[in-house]
């Protein structure tokens, strides 16, 4: 299997590590939330454990650890293994962002 790193070009899959679905976003909760811990726990429970298992195109996190060490977001068809677009995570390199998150 080959993955086209946007920085390095097409590479053998062994250079990469797969993390999972790129859709879930890490919830942001204040440390001393007046609402108590439940809303945060519920949100984090979903974030940590619940995943859609799509038979089709998914956006996934891949880490080019055996190469330029960039985190990538790749569109992959889980049925045919075909890759669509592969882009760098927003914080790869020295990109300066106005605020956290995508």
């Amino acid at each position: 299997m080959r993955i086209a790193c946007p920085f390095c070009g097409e590479r053998e899959s062994g250079e990469f590590t797969y993390l999972g679905d790129a859709s879930p976003k890490r919830p942001n909760f204040a440390v001393d939330s007046v609402a108590g811990p439940e809303p945060a726990e519920d949100a984090f429970y979903d974030y940590v454990y619940l995943r859609d298992n799509v038979a089709g195109v998914m956006r996934e996190y891949w880490y080019h650890g055996g190469g330029c060490r960039s985190w990538l977001i790749a569109e992959r068809n889980t049925v045919t293994h075909e890759f669509g677009s592969v882009t760098a995570a927003p914080g790869a390199g020295a990109t300066k962002l106005a605020q956290a998150g995508e």
Partner: protein
């Protein structure tokens, strides 16, 4: 009082046996040389400072660092792309404080990490070099696909490596540089030697110039 000796040791002290290995008939198909005495500094632009980093590099090295996988030869160092907005500055280790100089120029603009001892550098050349490399590297090192000046961050034996191509040698053959992590050097040297035995291998050690 005791005089302590602080001799630098290469990680290849045991595994590198200079001389001819493998097939002995004819010219050696592969030449493998450890390059010792290197200075290597990882330069990583700080957020929003990629342009300043390039400017600072231009001032110090006379060239901008490559923004795509390439190696460019500067005044006092070769700049090797190692990822987005980062590069390795490579030169022969000298008496003066090279890291200090870089730290001054890049202060507040880029973060630096001295990797001079964290990596081991070898040079691979010879008429059969590409065939040997093909045994342990999945990269396309064809002449047009990986021309002089091309570089790659990749893996060998599932360990990270940097490869870049110099200008061809005096014999017209391609010259490849391979930078591996120091702790893996002993193991990877063995892999490289094994790949070249059928072509005849000439192994040696030299100092960076």
């Amino acid at each position: 009082m005791v005089d302590y000796l602080w001799n630098a040791q290469s990680p290849l002290q045991k595994e590198l046996v200079a001389g001819r290995h493998g097939v002995t008939a004819g010219q050696a198909g592969v030449t493998l040389t450890e390059i010792r005495g290197i200075m290597l500094v990882q330069v990583m632009a700080r957020r929003g400072k990629a342009v300043e980093t390039a400017k600072a590099a231009k001032k110090l090295f006379g060239v901008e660092p490559p923004s795509t996988p390439k190696a460019v030869i500067g005044k006092i160092a070769t700049l090797i792309w190692s990822g987005p907005d980062q590069f390795l500055a490579f030169a022969a280790r000298s008496a003066d404080s090279q890291f200090g100089k870089l730290a001054e120029v890049f202060a507040g603009i880029a973060s630096l990490s001295d990797q001079s001892d964290g990596r081991c550098l070898s040079q691979i050349s010879g008429p059969r070099a590409r065939e040997a490399l093909a045994k342990f590297s999945s990269l396309d090192l064809d002449d047009t696909m990986f021309p002089p000046g091309a570089t790659a961050t990749s893996s060998v034996d599932h360990t990270p490596v940097n490869i870049w191509r110099d200008a061809n040698g005096a014999d017209g053959e391609a010259v490849f540089n391979l930078l591996v992590f120091t702790s893996f050097a002993d193991s990877l040297w063995k892999t490289i030697v094994a790949s070249a035995l059928e072509y005849g291998l000439e192994a040696s050690s030299a100092h960076a110039e």
